[in-house]
């Protein structure tokens, strides 16, 4: 029925999926995405430190939440997106998809590390311990190891396309860990507190706190996009080295 419109649009998707076109478009998008990340972070920090009130139970230590929760969300979300692109690359054999997966892994690992680090520094004043081998923390540590395993496996295989496939399988298998992290505080008795925000339910924190956290979450999101797109552009150039368009680009800049 929509043949007339869907055929060209599908072609357009594949057009953007070509490495030179991706390189050009991502290059245009990154400055805007990075700038919005910076602006959102400034607004979020202002809300988090100057508008959100002191917490009745946790005093000022709770303000770690404004970086901890966004980092933890992005650590999980980036993994799902990475596994999605790995799967697309695996099934359709599209180069750009696997490049996106590779570009997302270090940023996801960064987010997982930050979630663990800020969680430890929040856990000490809130629960009296930096670390506990409970379900939430252990599964988040496994998430960090999955990212590192993905990168290590990819680096260990010389042929880029074979590396894409092997690391892609690892990424897909590791997806089971994401719902385990997300639901761990409900499934197991955990030291970690339950969610303050659950889809379809009213949040259990004050409005200014919620606003600060959501703005910071958007800032982290934009940051991850900017970092991953820049890395993906680098990977495109690395893999297409010697191609005429890369050669022309390099000479133009030299």
């Amino acid at each position: 029925m929509h043949d007339m419109t869907s055929a060209p649009s599908r072609l357009r998707v594949f057009h953007y999926a070509s490495p030179p076109e991706f390189y050009r478009l991502a290059g245009k998008a990154v400055p805007f995405v990075a700038a919005s990340a910076a602006i959102l972070a400034l607004v979020g920090l202002y809300l988090g430190f100057f508008v959100a009130p002191t917490d009745a139970q946790q005093g000022e230590a709770y303000r770690i939440m404004f970086v901890h929760v966004p980092a933890a969300w992005m650590a999980m979300f980036v993994y799902v997106v990475m596994a999605f692109w790995a799967a697309v690359g695996f099934i359709l054999n599209t180069r750009m998809s696997s490049i996106m997966a590779s570009a997302l892994a270090p940023t996801g690992a960064t987010m997982a590390f930050l979630a663990l680090w800020t969680g430890a520094l929040w856990g000490r004043p809130a629960w009296g311990t930096y670390w506990d081998w409970d379900a939430r923390m252990t599964s988040t540590l496994i998430l960090l190891f999955l990212y590192m395993g993905f990168m290590a496996l990819h680096n260990a295989i010389d042929d880029a396309r074979r590396a894409d496939r092997a690391a892609g399988v690892l990424a897909l298998v590791g997806v089971v860990n994401v719902p385990i992290i997300y639901f761990s505080v409900q499934w197991w008795n955990s030291l970690h507190q339950g969610s303050s925000i659950t889809l379809g339910r009213a949040p259990t924190i004050a409005a200014p706190m919620l606003a600060a956290m959501l703005v910071m979450a958007l800032a982290f999101w934009m940051y991850c996009i900017a970092a991953a797109l820049t890395r993906a552009r680098a990977i495109v150039l690395e893999r297409e080295r010697g191609a005429e368009w890369v050669d022309a680009l390099a000479r133009e800049r030299a």
Partner: protein, 57 residues
């Protein structure tokens, strides 16, 4: 506004070490990753030249 001055702001109600330890490392790691991806892109661009100039046709 929550704070009576810089000292109070930095002290974070006695939790300054935890709060700034968290925010400081987030800022540092984000900065390192931002610089690292840009350097990688610049390096890839420099290395992008074909090994030998192709004969122009």
């Amino acid at each position: 506004m929550n704070w009576g001055g810089w000292r109070e702001f930095l002290n974070m109600g006695g939790y300054g070490g935890y709060v700034w330890g968290a925010y400081g490392v987030v800022a540092l790691v984000v900065l390192i990753e931002s610089v690292a991806v840009r350097l990688r892109l610049a390096r890839a661009l420099r290395a992008g030249r074909a090994p030998r100039a192709r004969p122009r046709s």
